[in-house]
Structure formats: C-alpha cells, structure tokens
C-alpha cells in the first residue's frame, strides 16, 4: 500500500484505501506527541513552507508542529507580512519559493482551486490547507480519525453536520470523506446557507437542527462566519442561535453516547453553548486538535516517500 500522489488537494479525489492508509499512519504518529522528546529524525533536511493567505491559528500551528516533530525545517509565510501586500501574484510567489527548493508547500488561500493551480505549476508537493469554500482535506481526515478513535468505526454511523454548509470547506471535505467511508451524513442549516441540490452529494438535508441530530452518533457543529451577517443571509446572530445552537436541551435528541465536534474557532453561544462545548462526556473538540498534529505528520511523511 502506498500513497501514489504528489499532492494532497482534496478528499474528493482520494480512495478509501488512501484514506485508511493516512488514518492508520496518523494513529502510529500519536505516540510521538506524548514523548518527553517529541521529535523523530525522519524528515531531517526537508523544508516545508506554510504559505497562508488567510488567517489561521490551529491549522498553521498544527502543520508547523507536525513538520518540526518530524525534524523538517518549517517556514511560515502569511500574506500580511509578505510581498503579497506589494502586489505579487500567487503564481509569482510560488515560482520564487520553488526556486528556493522546498520539498512541500502547504497552502491556504481564499480562492477555491488555488492549490490545484500551484500543483500544476511547481514540482513541489502541495498540501491544501483550505481553499475558499471548496475543501479542507486535513481537517476532514482529523475529524474521521477522531470519530474512528471514539466510535471504533466510520461505516454505518449517522453524522449530523450543522451550520453554514454553503460556505464551509470543512463540511464539503467531510461529506466526501464520511460518505466514502460508509457513514450516513445529514446536514442542516438555514435555507440561505444550504447549497442547492446538496442531496446530489448522496446525503440528506434538513432545515431544522432537531431533525438532523435525532439519533445521531456524531454531531459536528460548523463555525458561523460572523462576517456573513452583513451579507443578509441571516437576520441576526441571536436569531441564528435560537434555531441552530447546540445546547443541553437539544443534544438529548442525539444518541446517549453521541460525540460533539467543532473545527474551531468556536463562537460560544452562537452555534454551540459553552456547557456542551466544555462537557468532557461528549465534547471531543480538543481531541480533534491533538489528532490534527498526527494527521498532518502522516501527510508530510507519506508525501515525503514514506511507505513508497
């Protein structure tokens, strides 16, 4: 079994075997983060550039830590402190970075397809760390890893994804991934945040949160992008919270052993109430972050020729 890929662009083009290989490799990497010396020499001499055109704490730090625990050199570039502010295009930036010979470029960009463009232009491996409203593959992989860790499987589980499905790359990657792995996905959100014909992705869609989370094994809440309030797609945060906030009361509709997930950053009291988010009995939000480092280590390792 090998990962016959130069780039990690999305879950849509991944096979079930590839997803399993990544998740199994990631499970083996978990242990390294618990050591006193959290470092293995595997990617010594490799350089990884984190090229982030959008704000990020979790994903960027996670990729940076993953690279460092594998002994690679990681370099962070964020748009606000780079030549982007001087007007350099993405393609020119990439060509210049390519000339410095890194091994992997991790890209986050607000335009869907930006990583695909780079992948066709430069010889380095490209990892998509989120492209517009398109995909966020490493997030979906860490979500699947967390579900598998808690539930022992993915096939046959009911997973409810709640919130702004239209603008969410996390939702899109998870729908592709979970469906491939045999889980049943149900999404819910206001009609203005629901893509038309979403059922064509092979999932169920509801308008009410209650309908989606009933008997769910996993409830995944999405972040409401606060800037959307100005676009008039929902009347107010308060109104949104009244209908779509996961709280003590409505969580009872899900299975008694259901787990609650959130990709972060959370808007407490908007899409998730603090008592649910902080409840160790159901919330696995911080496990997601822990698994995120292991998944990203697995991606960097497999792209660098591990298990070739």
């Amino acid at each position: 079994m090998k990962l016959a890929k130069k780039d990690i662009l999305g879950i849509q083009e991944m096979t079930v075997d590839e997803i399993n290989l990544i998740l199994e490799t990631a499970e083996s990497f978990l242990e390294i983060s618990t050591r006193e010396i959290k470092k293995v020499p595997t990617l010594r001499g490799k350089s990884i550039i984190n090229l982030f055109y959008e704000a990020s704490t979790r994903t960027r730090t996670s990729f940076e830590i993953a690279g460092k625990r594998l002994s690679a050199d990681t370099i962070n570039i964020s748009a606000s402190t780079s030549s982007v502010v001087k007007g350099e295009t993405l393609i020119d930036t990439a060509r210049n970075l390519e000339a410095m010979n890194p091994d992997i470029i991790v890209l986050r960009h607000s335009a869907a397809g930006a990583p695909h463009l780079l992948a066709s232009l430069v010889r380095q491996s490209i990892i998509n760390a989120g492209d517009g409203a398109h995909e966020h593959p490493s997030q979906a992989l860490l979500d699947m890893m967390t579900i598998r860790e808690k539930k022992g499987r993915l096939a046959g589980l009911k997973v409810a994804i709640i919130g702004d499905i239209l603008h969410s790359r996390v939702a899109r990657s998870n729908i592709y991934g979970l469906s491939k792995m045999g889980a049943q996905v149900v999404v819910a959100g206001p009609a203005t945040m629901m893509p038309r014909n979403i059922e064509q992705m092979g999932i169920k869609a509801c308008t009410k949160l209650e309908d989606a989370i009933t008997d769910a094994d996993v409830v995944m809440m999405l972040r409401i992008q606060l800037e959307r309030e100005k676009q008039n797609i929902f009347p107010s945060l308060r109104e949104y919270a009244r209908h779509y906030c996961l709280n003590r009361r409505n969580i009872k509709l899900a299975k008694p052993d259901a787990i609650v997930m959130h990709p972060g950053p959370m808007n407490r009291g908007v899409e998730i109430s603090p008592d649910v988010a902080d409840d160790p009995a159901c919330s696995v939000i911080l496990d997601q972050v822990n698994n995120g480092v292991a998944v990203r280590m697995a991606l960097l390792y497999l792209l660098s020729g591990g298990n070739e």
Binding site: F29, R35, E36, V40, T42, Y301, G305, G306, N307, E308
Partner: protein
C-alpha cells in the same frame, strides 16, 4: 535460468525454543538477575521473541519484567530510497528507560542498520544504563560496527541468500529458512 533451490530449514520449532531458553539464562547470568532489566522488541519479529523471552525469564525468576515495542521506520536512513517498506507501526514503551538495562530483541542481525536506528530511537526515550542486543540469527555481513550480546545461532550466509524467521504468532509455524533470493 538456473533452477531455484527450495528453501532449506536451518532451525525448527524445538531448535528455536532451546535457543531462547539458553538466551534467557544467559541474560540472567550476565545481568545477575532482573534488577532494572527491561525487554524491547523490534517490530515485527522481535516483538514475539521478546514476549517469549519475557515468559521464560518470568518462569525462572518468578517475577515479570517490563516489555516494550519499537517501530524503527521513522529512524531509518533510507526512508526516501528503498522501495519496499512495511506500514508504519506503533511504538509502545510504557515505562521509563532512565537507568534501565535494555535488552533489545530482534530476529535477524544482518547489516546492523536496523539496530543503529533502534538505538537512536531508544535514546530519544531516555538514557538507559546500557543496551544489550539479543538476536535469534546472526547472518553476518555487517555494515556498521555492531555486535550481538546474545546469539541464538550464527548462520553464515551469502548476500544473495534470504534468511527468514517464521514464528507461530505471525506465520503459524516456528522455523528458520534460508533460500536463494529471486
């Protein structure tokens, strides 16, 4: 095309058991008991041999010694070069290595590169008092200055021969085979 010879059995189930029993006694003799002694098996063959040594030592001394598992894939010097590799396995060292006498266990000692990687990995977990090496088969052809403290059998081999250790736990049968590589 010269005809390929069928694999030759160089050690059977009884032979393996006798070797391990002798090694268990040798470990106890050399270390004067089990004080601070721990076993670490190298994935995958070494794990089963380490488990068997643990049982034998427990039976002799009436006390269990700790057992760890090491996957050395991440410490290899050929990670991006070789074509065949086992998937990355889990490492479990559920005890502190500080000041311990570590018996590293593997099935076949060949170039010594696996042992080099294993020592690097162990040292990342702490500072053991000493590391000793136990192998079932030493087939020679070292590429690094490494030798075993306990050897089941010295098996002179040529470079175009393959030595495989089959164990009950993973292959359903205990035997050591030597054959010409295809």
């Amino acid at each position: 095309m010269p005809e390929k010879k069928s694999p030759k059995v160089v050690m059977d189930s009884d032979g393996i058991e006798r070797c391990l029993t002798r090694i268990a006694y040798e470990i106890l003799e050399k270390n004067k008991g089990i004080h601070n002694l721990v076993l670490v098996g190298i994935r995958t063959g070494g794990i089963y041999l380490a488990e068997r040594l643990q049982k034998k030592i427990s039976a002799i001394e009436n006390a269990k010694i700790p057992l760890g598992v090491l996957d050395i894939t991440l410490y290899r010097d050929d990670i991006t070069k070789t074509s065949k590799k086992a998937p990355l396995g889990k490492t479990k060292i559920p005890f502190d290595l500080e000041d311990k006498k570590v018996i590293l266990v593997d099935d076949v000692l060949f170039t010594g590169r696996t042992i080099r990687a294993a020592m690097d990995a162990l040292i990342d977990f702490g500072r053991p008092r000493m590391i000793q090496l136990a192998v079932l088969i030493d087939r020679g052809h070292r590429e690094l200055p490494i030798r075993a403290d306990y050897v089941g059998k010295n098996l002179p081999s040529s470079l175009w021969e393959a030595v495989s250790v089959n164990l009950l736990e993973k292959n359903g049968k205990d035997e050591v085979l030597i054959e010409e590589e295809t």
